[in-house]
Amino acid sequence: MKRIWNVARLQVVNRWTILWIPLMILGFIWLVNVALWWILSSSLATEDFADASSGMQWSGASFYIFVYMLVIAAQAMTMTFPYALGLSVTRREYYLGSLIAFVLLALTYGLLMTGLSFLERATNGWGFGGTMFSAVYFGQGPFLERLFVFAVAFLFFFIVGTFGGTIYMRWRTNGMLTAGAALIIVALAAVAVITLSESWPRVGEWFVASGPTGVVAWMLVPTALFSLAGYAALSRATPKS
């Protein structure tokens, strides 16, 4: 158990990758958004700006931070895994330790984003009615709900990144291409089925009815599946150089 915990520590040993760079990205995106809003608000009349603001509710600016988490996780697999093997860690210890680290990181960043979303509301959108941390899909509602949405979303991207990295470690580029193709086919099949049975309206209703919390809660299912698949792939992976 101690070794598994040490693997978790290993994932966060380098503060730059895990903390400073994501914060910098977030900070940069925030600055860019604030600058945009400032430009808009100074050049538009109040009503026009209100119109533009309502559109900005849908801002996906902070989406990039989620993508970065995917990248961290993938790199953890392709680079930290061979290193961990070199430190005589077993694959099981490595996977469990990494999962623990990612859950904790997801919670930490979830807390950060939740805090920022409250701050955003409190400052009335940073003084511009901006909605970077509290767009329609997240950052709304009571504290725990927001934290849940953010944390699970982060975890999902961590796990998907891990899965991708694992596929690469086990089967290299061919594996990646195959897995990618397989996922696309599954997605297409789903779209085909939904389209042909004319169920899009129902899908839309489900999204609206469940709200961000509901949708994200369902995301836990693919998250669990990907994490199991990742471990299965890792169990025979080797650090080919």
């Binding site: 290993l10 005589s88 080797t238």
Partner: protein, 303 residues
Amino acid sequence: MTATLTQTDAVVSVGGLTKRFGSFTAVDDVSFSVQPNTINGLLGRNGAGKTTIMQILTGQDFPTAGDVRVFGEAPAENPRVLSNISFIKESQRYPDDFQPRHVFESAPWFFENWDGDLAARLVEDFRLPVKRRIKKLSRGQLSAVGVIVGLAARAPLTFFDEPYLGLDAVARQLFYDRLLEDYAEHPRTVILSTHLIDEVANLLEHVIVLDKGRIIIDEDAERLRGSATTVVGTRSAVDAFAEGREVIARESVGGLASVTVTGLDDASRRQAAQTGLELSTVSLQQLIVRKTNAPDTEFENPS
């Protein structure tokens, strides 16, 4: 040939180990054992199968067939066994953006016997810049990181896989000296793979030589030393002398010939001298070169 496991008190016990990558057989029915608290050389040309065997012994790769025991158990995914092993590969990868200090910070978490003072001293000896990103280190500095981990970890079973590529001769000698020093104070089992045989010859107690995935020599180092002699002279005299003896290598130029033979006793030596033949010693490296039919240069290039 039956696959048998030899000596159950051995640290490493391999029987009939085979590893195939597709149609390529990297390791072919290999059996050997390693005694505790000895320095062993796993020698052979590039591509002979040394790294593959080490990867299987450390659970990083899996056998296609055969039995592998380390500390009495199968090593793969076995924390009991693996926590007593350190394996520093020539091509060890480190996480992106890691600096050596991150390595020396995290390695102790996994090696109980880690000696921080030794690590610090070695960092100075090798003049390693600990705050520079590993990506930016020279080949020699990268090797130094691996060597320091391997030495400071003091793992009961320590593997070194060509750990000093890029290290200059001074740094290599430093590695050998520190290894011997620490080994004398804290005995452990060391398995060292290299193609620079002459440099490590004096350190080794036991020698295993691989060629194309098979073991061709598995012998006590001291018994190997002096087991072969090169006899030089006129072709007729040499051929007459070599009659009935085990000949490892044979060369000739013009009217001169030379053979490398094994098992010359004092009487034979005197006989050779009397027939006007010249005898010269054969180093461990030369012996292995002759037996693997490799060009001499294969074992000299340190990169």
